[in-house]
Symmetry: C2
Subunit: 359 residues, 2 copies
Amino acid sequence: MKWQDRRLLDLFGIEHPIIQAPMAGPTTPQMAIAASKAGALGSLAAAMLTPDLLRAELQTVRQHTDRPINVNFFCHTPPVVDAGREAGWRKRLARYYDQLGLPASAADGGAVRMPYGAAMGELLLEFRPKVASFHFGLPEEGLLKPLRAAGILILSSATTVEEACWLEARGVDAVIAQGAEAGGHRGMFLTDDIASQPGTMALVPQVVDAVKVPVIAAGGIADGRGVAAALALGAAGVQVGTAFLLTPEARTSAVHRAALKSRTADVTALTNVFTGRPARGVVNLIMREVGPIAPEAPSFPLAAGAATPLRVAGEAKGSGDFSPLWSGQSAVLAREMPAGEVVASLVAQTGVALRRVQG
Amino acid sequence: MKWQDRRLLDLFGIEHPIIQAPMAGPTTPQMAIAASKAGALGSLAAAMLTPDLLRAELQTVRQHTDRPINVNFFCHTPPVVDAGREAGWRKRLARYYDQLGLPASAADGGAVRMPYGAAMGELLLEFRPKVASFHFGLPEEGLLKPLRAAGILILSSATTVEEACWLEARGVDAVIAQGAEAGGHRGMFLTDDIASQPGTMALVPQVVDAVKVPVIAAGGIADGRGVAAALALGAAGVQVGTAFLLTPEARTSAVHRAALKSRTADVTALTNVFTGRPARGVVNLIMREVGPIAPEAPSFPLAAGAATPLRVAGEAKGSGDFSPLWSGQSAVLAREMPAGEVVASLVAQTGVALRRVQG
């Protein structure tokens, strides 16, 4: 496959304009290694890792490849705990605690969702990945400067044209235009209006017109037809997540895999019941009964405190009723194959799709 | 422009695989004539017309062109009036009636939104348009049979894979895959779950995989990049609406045009406040304050009974606060030019977009 638009290939030093999306939870070093070896930009997802765990993942990657990789961080403002809100949320979920025989005080086992900070910055300067990407905006300039000085490229996601312009003004090297189809957390940071979030088909060309940096399309792209479409819209490349969730390299749980392969995998919604922030997943019991948007959920990531024990207890019984089943709207197009083959398939299918429209 | 996929060109007898979307209200015979003369499939929107008015529009079209055209109908089940619900809705809107100095009993002036029926069928058999398209499913088989016997092709919109399969099983000649980006009424008829409606990028390839008939992509497509992207996704063609709203041929009101050209034209949402069914428009005061989804709104189209007087009174004062400002998510890409030039631009831009990705 000869890519006409070489902007991302030259910027990142990769063979194909495809980023394996960082997905906190399912993404593993093995996924990133396989994606990078296949010529894409492999990504690690640091959002739920301590610095020590991220160090271990970076070491694993470096033992297997010196190809460019991306490390992704959340950069939300840490919330202030509101005791009344916490109590209300526990109360809202109490009947499920009863059903699962959980004590009312059960805690989430300490999964961290810390925003990017100095400790992570030191790791980046030590390992020097080619790219650092952020979700929910950008960290303050003081934290970005050392990365830039070290030659680390900086990306972030925009869900609106306004967010894309904000990111460009702050010096990102490329913008990920995250259409409403995308799975997992919406990267939105200048708006909290999920009703107005544009789909990929609408968002990408408008962002392309609004910024000068390369635009990476995300959301609903799970095979080569989507890659070809994104390029036609003017994107320099794509970020693909859901298509990697069924790979053997993915740490996708059994209930999550089952949901992605189910007949109703195309029934997804944005929900805040798992973390407090809108994220797209396959609709399940807790989303239907408590959400999909629960106004009473505590701020991100505090809602997870009371929601995660339900997930753990449910999964112990083989149930995904309380699990975040993150997925974009194209899970139906995902295949069970190694991550490297996902990249190779995307590349081959893109060629087929482009030749089909050109004759 | 040489189109590789000739399915729609051969099926409809047109030059370009583009349908000018029927938009009840803004669409005029002049728009359909111009689109058809430019080689697209021009459409009339019958949903808000009496048979006499539709007859007049069909006569106008036939005076100017014998090219293929499409006539679009709603085919909802007429609602049962619920007096309590009606009273509740009037009460919900009462403060706006007060603000605008409207009597509480003001009525909507009798705009009809009648489902397709026998009288319209007779008109179709008399004028024999090439295509009849439906929104909200299909009329009963007894009403379709005479159309088929007369050689009139039948289309309808699907917002999910399930709806596409349902339509194919009932013999449509092509399916319009209406992604969530689309303006105006969602064609949804097997689900009322707007949270799960897929975007165009996700919906089109899944529908293409699920049905054998040609798939027409709709939603967020307002320039040639979108057309090229839709073709890459496997669509046989596109239906484009919003891009025609700023044409001189469009009966788009002054407040509507202003909204489409405003800085916040990309802030749209699905709302039921104007008719009782979810439809996408630029967010305005009544959507923000009463909706965007008002659970208390009467069933389609009854909500319009109390909402339309507000629109009329508001527009008389130059305000679009109470007007349905229907728009897809790509109004920013729409240009003020004649409808025939919109078609020509779409064609030319598609060629540019396809050449750009191919080199």
